[in-house]
């Protein structure tokens, strides 16, 4: 059965019609996001489904795809070293199974996988969540183990493995009738193929000052850590402000700061919700990054995203909801548009990564 009509049917009906069904649809949604800059355009459709099962179990499933097309004006320091145009399709699936024996704590296991012509990723995870302090606080811990294989579209025998171990912790607590604060921390350890290194691109090359062309080569391990604080504050009954700050550091000596702020306003008793958001980030360069290389350094990269850069993002979102439909507690239509500006310190005149991000979707709660 085609996936799209099935999801649309479940989106609207929620599987209604069965008396006391053992499986109940909680929410379903579908959306499309489009990202475009001077180099690439990515169309990303996605769909999600959340089901309640008997005896405190629930399951969530999601599908997402990236349809990528682009043309590259640069020849050496770019995603594709010699191509002038390219197309790629990535499909990803994820499933999360949750058990909640008590209302105050739950366990969950998850799997996510994605595949494209030259890359495969599989991620398995386990997690737990517990409400504490008379349900004024919530502690969540998630552990993921990821396995990847990087290949080459022009060489089927090429295969370089990599793995990552990730731990995410979050502590959310209610400080008042309209105030919520959240602390987040994450850690990651990557172990990669010594032939390629972590997040290196097998197609990308670098050119030295002597005119020698070398393949990109990154360190084969990477430790990463990030900590963030988020705050949500109601400003009356129909307005709220949300903000956050994150600090990041890794073993490649990249460190950086990210801050975001958004304002939400509800109109017509939540029938319309408007949001305005902004984000700023600033990062330093990896210790082996350079706009050009002299000689044959052990580590070298053509990835400008490992250099010092700063980004701004600003956008608006609107969501319209209906609450009086038969069989639905809420049906919502949402749309957003964001502008992204990216400036790299070593290529200050390059504005080609400035991008638009546009999205929209339909969601239903039952």
């Amino acid at each position: 059965m085609p996936l799209a009509p099935l999801l649309v049917g479940l989106l609207v009906t929620g599987g209604a019609g069965a008396a006391d069904p053992p499986v109940r649809v909680d929410t379903s949604s579908a959306r499309v996001d489009v990202f475009t800059d001077e180099w690439v355009t990515v169309v990303a459709p996605s769909a999600n489904l959340d089901l309640t099962l008997p005896r405190g179990w629930s399951v969530s499933g999601a599908w997402a795809a990236d349809v990528i097309s682009g043309a590259t004006p640069h020849i050496t320091t770019d995603a594709i070293s010699s191509a002038t145009s390219f197309h790629e399709l990535r499909n990803g699936l994820s499933v999360d199974l949750q058990a909640a024996p008590k209302t105050t704590w739950s366990l969950h296991g998850s799997y996510a996988g994605s595949i494209e012509s030259d890359f495969v990723s599989n991620t398995a995870g386990l997690g737990a969540k517990v409400d504490l302090l008379k349900r004024m606080a919530s502690l969540r811990a998630d552990y993921h183990s990821r396995f990847e294989t990087t290949g080459r579209a022009d060489d089927r025998s090429y295969s370089e493995p990599a793995s990552a171990q990730l731990l995410d912790l979050s502590w959310a607590w209610i400080l008042g009738r309209g105030t919520v604060a959240t602390l987040l921390a994450s850690g990651e350890w990557d172990a990669c193929s010594p032939a390629l290194g972590c997040v290196a691109n097998p197609y990308r090359t670098v050119r030295t000052t002597q005119g020698v062309v070398l393949p990109e080569r990154h360190p084969d391990t990477r430790g990463r850590a990030a900590g963030a604080l988020r705050l949500s504050q109601a400003l009356g009954a129909n307005t709220a402000v949300h903000g956050g700050y994150r600090y990041y550091a890794d073993s490649w000596r990249i460190s950086g700061h990210t801050a975001d702020l958004s304002l939400a306003r509800s109109l017509f008793k939540d029938a319309l919700v408007l949001r305005a958001n902004g984000r700023f980030s600033r990062q330093g360069a990896a210790f082996f990054f350079g706009p050009e290389y002299d000689g044959t350094p052990a580590w070298r990269t053509g990835d400008r995203d490992l250099g010092a850069l700063h980004t701004w993002k600003a956008g608006i979102a609107v969501e319209g909801s209906a609450y009086t439909l038969e069989g639905l507690s809420r049906l919502s239509l949402a749309a957003n548009i964001d502008r992204l500006w990216l400036r790299q310190d070593d290529f200050a005149g390059d504005h080609s990564h400035d991008a638009w991000l546009v999205g929209g979707g339909l969601s239903a709660a039952f």
């Binding site: 991620t123 009738r177 309209g178 850690g187 990651e188 990041y248 950086g256 993002k313 991000l357």
Partner: protein
């Protein structure tokens, strides 16, 4: 670090809300935009173009985006 733990303890111990006092927290505007699927998409897009990651909405399988 001791001061932070003490502050945390004071803050979490001072306020207890009954379920009927949490109506404001359940409104649509109080949903943190970081904690939505839209945010996960945006985080995925941005993390491909920055070297930083973690403590954010992005999750799931990675991509060969580099």
């Amino acid at each position: 670090m001791s001061a932070l733990i003490l502050l945390f303890g004071v803050l979490t111990g001072c306020v207890t809300l009954a379920p009927y006092q949490r109506a404001t927290l359940m409104t649509r505007v109080m949903q943190d935009p970081y904690d939505t699927r839209e945010a996960a998409t945006a985080a995925h897009v941005i993390e491909v173009r920055e070297a930083m990651a973690g403590a954010s909405a992005a999750s799931g399988a990675s991509c060969g985006c580099r």
